[in-house]
Every structure is written in C-alpha cells, then in structure tokens.
Symmetry: C2
Subunit: 188 residues, 2 copies
C-alpha cells in the first residue's frame, strides 16, 4: 500500500492553500480521501499535530527545491527565475496561495512549535534569496540599490502578497509583480 500519511498531508495542504486552517476539518479530509474521520485521527491524533507535520514537510520539500535549483542553474538570474516559476505554479494549479501566507494569516492560532517551524521556513527562503541576489550583484548580472537582504525581503513579501492579490484581481496582477521584480534587477 502507498503511504497514507503522505496522502493525508497532500490533501490537507491543498485545502489549506485554498481555504484556511480554521475553516478546514477532518470531515473535509474524510470526504476527499474516502476513509473515516477516526482513521485520520489514527494517523494525526490532533489537528495541531497535523498542522505541524504539514509545515515540517513543506520546509523539507522547499529545501530540496531550492537546493536543486542551486545545483542545476549556475546563473543567479536563472536561479531567481526558477524560484519565481515555482511560485507561479502555485497560482496556476487552482487559485491557491502559498502555505506560508495562509498560515501566517492565522499565525496567532498556531501552536508554539508550529510558529517556530514556520519562522524557520521563512528564514530559510530569505537566506537563500539573499545569497542569490548577493551573488548576482557580485557577478554584475544583477543591479539593485540597497542591501541584498532588504531586496530579498521585498521580493519575498511581494511574491506572497501577489498570490493573494491574484485572487480578488486577476492573475494579471501576479504577472505584473513578477515582471516588475525582473525589471528592477536589470542594470541600465
């Protein structure tokens, strides 16, 4: 048999990116997976544990993604492009938002552990982005004023916000943000 735990996390992640932590229930999971609520409780006794597992898995998945990008692309511009493509695929697969954004909106409802794990995840992405930007500047293939860290913060925040804005507006708004991030990095 395949891994049921992973299947539950897959479905939970999808719902979380479409709705919110408070609004989704074991019943939702039960309906979509086709096993009873009690069976899901067997794998994840509490909602809090499920949520923590979700964030932990997401962090390790994102780590793999970013490491792969770093290995496959040597050019910092292509590395950033690959990451932005990764983010835009979230939008294209339904009008989802990133897991991070969904959970940060309900940050005050998370357990201490989950908050910590979410914080680690964000820090990791920020560090990666900062490094790519610093490398791009050093190689003179990117140009931007200010520090790499600040510019990384801007890009990270903009991508998260853009996914959400795309919901009430059109995906065009999201594409506008991607376009502008790229334009800003071109020297003149």
């Amino acid at each position: 048999m395949f891994n049921r735990k992973e299947q539950i996390l897959d479905v939970a992640e999808e719902i979380l990116q479409t709705q919110s932590l408070s609004s989704f229930s074991y019943q939702d999971l039960s309906d979509r997976i086709g096993i009873s609520k009690a069976s899901i409780h067997h794998h994840f006794p509490s909602k809090e544990e499920l949520c923590l597992a979700l964030v932990t898995r997401h962090r390790s998945s994102l780590t793999t993604t970013l490491e792969t990008i770093t290995q496959e692309q040597t050019n910092p511009i292509q590395q950033l492009d690959a990451y932005m493509l990764h983010v835009s695929q979230i939008l294209q697969s339904g009008s989802k938002i990133c897991l991070t954004g969904s959970l940060q909106s309900e940050y005050t409802l998370l357990s201490k552990n989950t908050q910590q794990e979410l914080s680690n995840l964000c820090k990791y992405v920020h560090t990666w982005l900062s490094r790519v930007l610093a490398e791009g500047k050093k190689q003179k293939v990117m140009a931007f004023p200010g520090t790499s860290e600040d510019h990384a913060s801007l890009i990270q925040a903009a991508l998260q916000g853009a996914l959400q804005q795309a919901r009430s507006e059109s995906p065009k708004q999201f594409n506008a943000v991607i376009r502008q991030i790229k334009v800003l990095l071109k020297g003149k």
Copy 2:
C-alpha cells in the same frame, strides 16, 4: 447613545486583523462588547452581512484616508510616505495584518458580494498608488524602471506580504521592505 453598529464593526475588524474570518465568532464579539450574541444578530443578522459591512466600511474609510493624504501632501514622495506610515501603524497596534490580506487568504469562503467589494477596494488602492508613482516620475522626484502600474502592483503586494511576514519574523522584516521600497525610488 453612541452607535452600536459602529462599535461592533470596530471590534470585528480588530479580531479579523488578528485572527481570521473562520476562527472568529459572535461569541468573541459578545465577550468583548458585553452584550449577548442575540443582540449582535439584531444588528447584523448573519456573519456574511457583517463581513460585507466590514469591507464596505473599510473601503470608505480608506478612500477618506487616501483623499486626505492627497490633499495635505503635494509632493508624491510625501504622499507615498504617508501611505506607508498608515500601513505601518497597522503593525504597531498589535501584530495585526491588513483587513484585505486577512480576507483574501479566505477569499474562497466569501460571498460574491463581499468578493466584489474586496476587489473594488484593491483596485482603488492600486489606482491611487499608480497615480502617485506616475506623478512622481513626471515631476522627476521618483525614478523606477517599468510602468507605474506594475510598480504599484509590486508595492501593494509587498506591503501586504510584509505585514504577514512580520508575524513570524520580527517587525524588522517589515521595516526592511519599507526601506527597500524607498531606496528603489531614489534616482542615482
């Protein structure tokens, strides 16, 4: 007597910016205001109506704010600064996020009317920002590549994302985004 409806909306807005639409209840309102749940239903029969009223009021409030800024500040740079100060005050009054961001995260759960009103609100802010940026460029007090509309989208998305990121990180992350938005507008 003061206006109870407004009081309810005040408290609801505060809770929504701290938690989420799904997680907050008439009981929460009842506890904080000191009247029964049934009394609140008298003013806002359903949660959906309350939510719509909240967005409508927020839109008119924001319209006033932006019009005031436009009248009081003649310099586009100062207009943008005033708006960003307005946003940063959201963060300073507790670790809140903007109403827009909170509701967009649960966009799929909103009624059609509320979705439409939220969309109008976002469009209005985007139009205002675009105009300020275009004016700044025309007066040569701002410099940025690309269109005013795209740069407005970037700033709007970044501010919304930054408020959320500030929760799992520190307010420093938010300040970094503000700083970088300003730096990007300086000609060199």
